[in-house]
């Protein structure tokens, strides 16, 4: 096979078509496409791509197996390091990670590593070849709080090491942001649930409707016989802009908008009971994945015009590149270097107008990005009937509030030891967004792996000491 210079395109739903449904946008490679793309890999002696992978997948090895059409072996190779490849293949910011370091990327296009990962995982699921080995149960008892990617990783790793693991999730469905935040058209919920099923098959017990801090506390978990606790409660508390009019009807947090849409399936209202109200003109404030997801959902829910309002320029948009491109293709209007300063409502308290100000980029700030500064006198008004605030989230507060001795930062993130993820309380570990602040699926999983290793060592030492 001749080696292509450019990536094999992934088939996608036509933009005109897809803005009217919630089906997955990217359809994935066929096996022919995957093999063709795999042939582009140079199989470097000293592979740079691995350096960019937070969980150190042996990337050249799995790509080589795809090249040889050994798809089953390819997925096993990935799963040595990553328990959730169908998810990561879809949502990782590959251009910032593995693909950034691919040598092909220096001159042209990198290998499409994410698409190949997704292909291998989908191949396994669609062909029903997922095999679950049985593991012993001579370890200890571990409680895992939350069921997002950090928690699922900890649970799976510890179950494989022979521990009895119980997950406590406050919502009615396991999966964290993967279920309630990221939309169906980007990450089908059936895929997330099949990953959760896999973790269940490993012997992990899931308690839903179980809010730690209310139903039980961490101290009570220890009293009831758990040897260790992992906190993976995520960063789900939405930040607001703190500007006038923000509590008007029609101003949503992105989380409310996405929870209604994804978790409660409001896009199927009234077949599903939970409603969602979307106006004709929608403004989404923010430039990350959350903002793109909210904007594209609004379009699919029937909005006529959807704006992304972002205070920096296009280069600084923190969203995955692919999602920015998808949003543009779908007709989302980007109003860059713009910031809202006020929402104005009618006499019934419904949002009507948003007032904004133009921005310019000044000196770099602590994050290294150039700081946006308002341009005096550039205020202007625009008609909107829905505004969605997607400017970030901070950690869910319930556990921090109910656990004495748990040290946190001023942003309410939990403080842990870098190497072990141990918190200020012995036997209590934490990882994922609740420690890092809102980040990525793969970094949450990376933290989960580290924590699982440390928890295993802690529990085994404890068992040895107590002679059980």
């Amino acid at each position: 096979m001749q080696r292509r210079n450019t990536q094999v395109e992934m088939p996608k739903q036509d933009p005109k078509e897809r803005i009217r449904n919630f089906n997955e946008v990217a359809k994935g490679y066929t096996s022919e496409m995957a093999v063709e793309e795999a042939h582009r890999c140079l199989n470097c002696k000293n592979p740079q791509c691995r350096k960019g992978c937070p969980v150190e997948i042996d990337i050249p090895a799995f790509i080589k197996l795809i090249k040889e059409k050994k798809f089953g072996e390819a997925i096993r190779k990935i799963k040595e390091k990553n328990a959730l490849p169908a998810i990561c293949g879809r949502v990782c910011p590959q251009e910032e990670q593995c693909q950034k370091f691919c040598v092909l990327g220096l001159k042209g296009e990198s290998v499409a590593i994410g698409r190949l990962e997704r292909f291998a995982a989908d191949f396994e699921r669609e062909n029903g070849i997922i095999n679950v080995e049985k593991y012993g149960s001579d370890g200890g008892r571990v409680a895992v709080i939350g069921s997002g990617p950090a928690s699922l990783t900890v649970a799976a790793e510890l179950a494989k090491l022979g521990h009895r693991v119980e997950v406590f999730e406050s919502l009615h469905t396991a999966g964290g942001v993967l279920m309630y935040g990221i939309p169906e058209f980007r990450l089908p919920k059936a895929i997330v649930q099949s990953e959760v099923e896999y973790v269940k098959k490993l012997g992990v017990l899931f308690h839903l409707d179980a809010t730690i801090g209310k139903l039980t506390t961490i101290r009570e978990l220890f009293e009831s016989g758990f040897d260790a606790v992992f906190i993976g409660s995520g960063a789900g508390l939405p930040s607001f802009l703190q500007i006038p009019g923000e509590n008007l009807n029609g101003v949503y947090s992105a989380n409310e908008f996405l929870i209604r849409t994804n978790l409660m399936k409001a896009y199927l209202f009234p077949r599903y009971d939970t409603p969602i109200k979307v106006g004709k003109i929608v403004a989404v404030v923010g430039g990350g994945n959350v903002a793109m997801d909210a904007a594209r959902s609004a379009l699919r829910l029937g909005a006529e015009k959807v704006y992304i309002i972002y205070r920096r320029s296009k280069e600084e948009l923190p969203a995955r590149l692919e999602e920015v491109e998808n949003a543009e293709e779908e007709g989302i209007i980007f109003m860059l270097l713009t910031n809202p300063i006020r929402f104005i409502g009618d006499e019934r308290g419904n949002l009507k107008v948003m007032e904004c100000i133009k921005m310019e980029l000044g000196e770099p700030d602590e994050s290294g990005r150039r700081r946006p500064v308002p341009i005096k006198g550039s205020e202007f008004k625009m008609d909107v009937d829905t505004a969605i605030i997607a400017i970030g989230q901070t950690p869910n507060p319930l556990i921090q509030r109910s656990t004495e001795g748990l040290k946190t930062t001023k942003w309410n993130t939990i403080i842990v030891e870098e190497e072990t993820c141990q918190t200020s309380i012995e036997g209590v570990y934490a990882g994922g967004d609740v420690v890092s602040g809102a980040a990525t699926v793969i970094s949450a999983m990376g933290a989960g792996k580290k924590a699982a290793k440390a928890i295993h060592e802690f529990v085994m030492k404890k068992r040895l000491k107590s002679g059980t």
Binding site: L171, N249, E256, P397
Partner: protein
């Protein structure tokens, strides 16, 4: 899955359910609520906890059939299951010996009020209770209220039993000294009580019912303005200082989804037919 072990029809629209939820029964305190979802396609709706029996492992809820979900709930019977019942959520009310406490409950929330009164009594308070409803048909738990209170007043909106409206409360406040007021009921009632107690500077605790979605602090649908600051009622409340709540904003936000809820009902009846 959570089993219904007892069901009582209190009025034509108000029902009481006793639900098996052993862990919640050990934990729940007055002022806290549950979020339930009846079936896979269902909405998450918050309902205040109106009693617990830790030994039997059961939780009591009392609710009015006002829309799709509450009507569906009303159709369930003993032995049926509720798919999700997340409880307890929200903060418990502060139970201590205040001295003389005025407890004002309206409509279906009288059940929740009695759960509170029991705890306040145990803490040594003298209890003066006002129970209100639209009309005499909707007055519930009168006997229990009588037994648990040192004094009981009854009020109906139409005057069909007891005092007409809450005007008489002014006189009561003139006559007697109260150390604290707790009120739970319709938002308009709680607002009125707060307005009446304000001139007397009697600390008044209200229980707010904004629209909630997750009820774990992740969406902000439930935001209310209290003392000028935005609070999330599900995790910062649902109890607040009634003298500081922006009721206009709260009521406007509570109405936002009414047109959609009507669609849900129409669809529901079509489905049933």
């Amino acid at each position: 899955m959570y089993r219904i072990v007892e069901k009582i029809k209190l009025t034509p629209t108000d029902k009481m359910l006793v639900i098996e939820a052993p862990e919640a029964a050990r934990k729940a305190k007055p002022g806290q609520f549950a979020v339930l979802r009846i079936s896979e396609k269902g909405e998450r709706i918050p309902i205040t906890i109106a009693g617990v029996d830790p030994d039997k492992g059961t939780v009591v809820i009392v609710f009015a059939e006002v829309g799709k979900t509450s009507k569906d709930l009303g159709k369930l019977g003993v032995g049926d299951y509720i798919l999700n019942f997340a409880a307890p959520l929200g903060n418990p009310l502060n139970i201590k010996n205040y001295g003389t406490v005025l407890c004002v409950g309206g409509g279906v929330f009288v059940g929740a009020l009695l759960f509170l009164i029991k705890a306040l009594r145990q803490a040594g308070n003298e209890i003066v209770t006002i129970i209100g409803a639209r009309n005499s048909e909707h007055l519930i738990f009168l006997d229990d209220a009588e037994k648990l209170s040192d004094e009981l007043y009854i009020s109906t909106d139409d005057g069909s039993r007891g005092y007409k409206g809450l005007e008489f409360l002014k006189e009561l406040l003139n006559k007697r000294k109260f150390d604290h007021v707790f009120t739970i009921g319709s938002t308009s009632m709680q607002r009125l009580v707060s307005e009446l107690t304000h001139p007397y500077s009697i600390p008044t605790t209200v229980n707010l019912f904004p629209i909630m979605v997750d009820a774990t602090g992740m969406c902000g649908a439930c935001r209310v303005i209290v003392g000028g600051a935005t609070k999330f009622a599900c995790v910062d409340g649902p109890d607040f200082d009634g003298h500081k709540v922006d009721f206009d904003q709260l009521i406007s936000r509570m109405r936002f989804y009414n047109p959609q809820e009507k669609i849900a009902m129409v669809y529901h009846y079509k489905e049933v037919a």
